[in-house]
Amino acid sequence: MINKRNMATYGIALVFILALNFLLPRMMPGDPLMAIYGEDALIQMTPELKAHLVERFALDEPIWSQLGAYFWGLLRGDLGHSYYYNAPVSEVILGRLPWTCLLVGSSLVLSTVLGVVLGIESGWRRGRKLDKSLLTGLMALGGFPDFFLGIVLLLVFGVTLGLLPLAGALTPYAELSGLALSLDILKHLLLPLASLTLCHIGGSYLLTRNTMITVMQEPYILTARAKGLSDSQIRYHHAGRNSMLPVFTRTGMWLGRLVTGALFVEMVFAYPGLGYLTYEALLARDYPVLQGVLLMVAVFVLVANLLVDLTYPKLDPRASYAH
């Protein structure tokens, strides 16, 4: 069951992104083709290609026709053409997507699971030594900008100790397969994953811990203690179960932050995902790619939010009732 309120939210968000994508280049002064494709690309274009592009985006027609052409393109999965990569934007993005999914996905799972577990343990021991050190430590880690943490990890483990590869997602030209390939991928993943996860664990940890502290004051915890339940049963089955709810509802938001974080981390490690693609596109002023990435990421985050909404009532029975 999807509630109307959330659908409206996602609708507005999507419209906002699409409007930005559509209007931004067209609002720039000068030739819209130049705004869409950038100066460098334009110089190298043949007149035939220019004419083709003008026709394709209906750039010589009124704004409504342009809008129609824009949507028609989107519906066919046409995000435009990257001049820098000389390939359709959708192809470029799809090529990079798996790496970002791997990085962001594993980081999401890792930081949420670790954050929730540590948050539960920490909140349970509120004010004691473990709680205080976890709180200070994780908050300090969260204070580091992810790119700086990435740089530090890179310098320590990659440059100084030489333990792990400095860049990329695979050893180039190694022609590995099977287990060796997986190991190679893992080795390359380790540092970016660590920087991303370490920076973001604090969010879910703090939220879980704070919720845990308030949940511990709820009457049903007293009931559970009175029933003579074991500590771990109370901690996880009763308190923890309730404490992880707010973390879960914010998965969509975490995802947005992780994608953002991935942008910087991928850049530091030259990890070939969407973040690094963004960086490359920025350097090359490849606007179609930038726009495509923005749209892609936004849709991604929105879909994730939608999935959370759909599964949430299974976790909190009140949800299907309260709204």
Partner: protein
């Protein structure tokens, strides 16, 4: 509102650490001209000189003094953080409080927009905008403010809904007070502590994002910024110049963000009094 942010700050040792750190950064920013010997953007020596008595932190790839850049970079960070925090908190207060007070359709529409802005990955939007506009510092402040009020607005709205039910507000209403009067005479003063917390969060986000944009190399390159210093240094990672080119701005940025994080944490009980009594932490 019987919870005083000042007292919460005093109770929390992390909060006190945060205050000390931010005061240090403030001193660095305010007295930058007195603390450095060289123009931050002037080419004062050859490239990549290691730290010496002449250049405390050495020089960068074009021979600029790192210590000077670090001190002036603090100015940029704090200026952006402070201004964005002021603007976005004002927006949060106005939009959040008015949504709660007016209610009905206005409230529903505003809250949908707020939710939508929360869902959208703001940094990506920023990157796109910055790529087109190549913003100077004023632009950055405006864009960050416009994209940073939504989190606070939600909290302000929730708190206003609570306040609205309180007697003195109801009493003022019964004397015929307008919504405008209510917001400024009753709601905002009572929201004080909460706005302060939002201010801290907004400043943190802004400082972080400004550095991030500069790090990506999409901000105006004439602005001296810690993010830009790191951007410049990252390209020379293979040399050991990172020891003085990369680490100082990184540490400065981290400590600044960290100090604000600690202060924000100390204020958390203002938002949820049940979190109080964090004896040592």
């Amino acid at each position: 509102m019987h919870i005083s942010p000042k007292r919460e700050l005093k109770r929390s040792s992390l909060g006190r650490v945060g205050i000390v750190l931010i005061v240090l950064v403030l001193i660095l920013a305010i007295f930058a001209p007195l603390l450095v010997r060289y123009e931050p953007s002037g080419q004062t020596a050859s490239a990549f000189e290691s730290p010496s008595l002449e250049h405390w932190l050495g020089t960068n790839h074009v021979g600029q003094d790192i210590w000077s850049q670090l001190a002036y970079g603090a100015r940029t960070s704090l200026l952006v953080g402070f201004s964005v925090a002021v603007f976005s908190v004002l927006l949060s207060a106005l939009i959040g409080a008015s949504a709660a007070l007016v209610g009905d359709r206005y409230d529903r529409i505003v809250m949908r927009i707020v939710d939508a802005l929360i869902v959208i990955p703001v940094v990506i939007v920023l990157v796109l905008l910055a790529a087109y506009i190549k913003p100077g510092i004023g632009y950055i402040i405006v864009i960050l403010s416009l994209l940073g009020w939504q989190f606070g607005a939600r909290v302000v709205r929730a708190q206003t809904l609570v306040l609205k039910e309180e007697m003195h507000v109801a009493a003022a209403k019964s004397f015929g007070a307008s919504n405008f009067y209510l917001i400024f005479r009753h709601i905002i003063p009572d929201l004080g502590p909460i706005l302060l917390v939002q201010f801290v969060y907004a400043a943190r986000r802004a400082i972080f994002m400004e550095a991030g944009l500069a790090f990506l190399g999409i901000a105006d390159p004439s602005i001296i910024s810690w993010g830009m210093m790191m951007h410049d240094a990252l390209g020379f990672c293979y040399l050991d110049v990172w020891r003085w080119c990369l680490i100082p701005p990184g540490v400065a940025l981290s400590l600044t963000v960290l100090s604000i994080t600690f202060i924000g944490h100390a204020f958390e009980p203002v938002l949820d009094p049940r979190l109080r009594g964090e004896a040592g932490a």
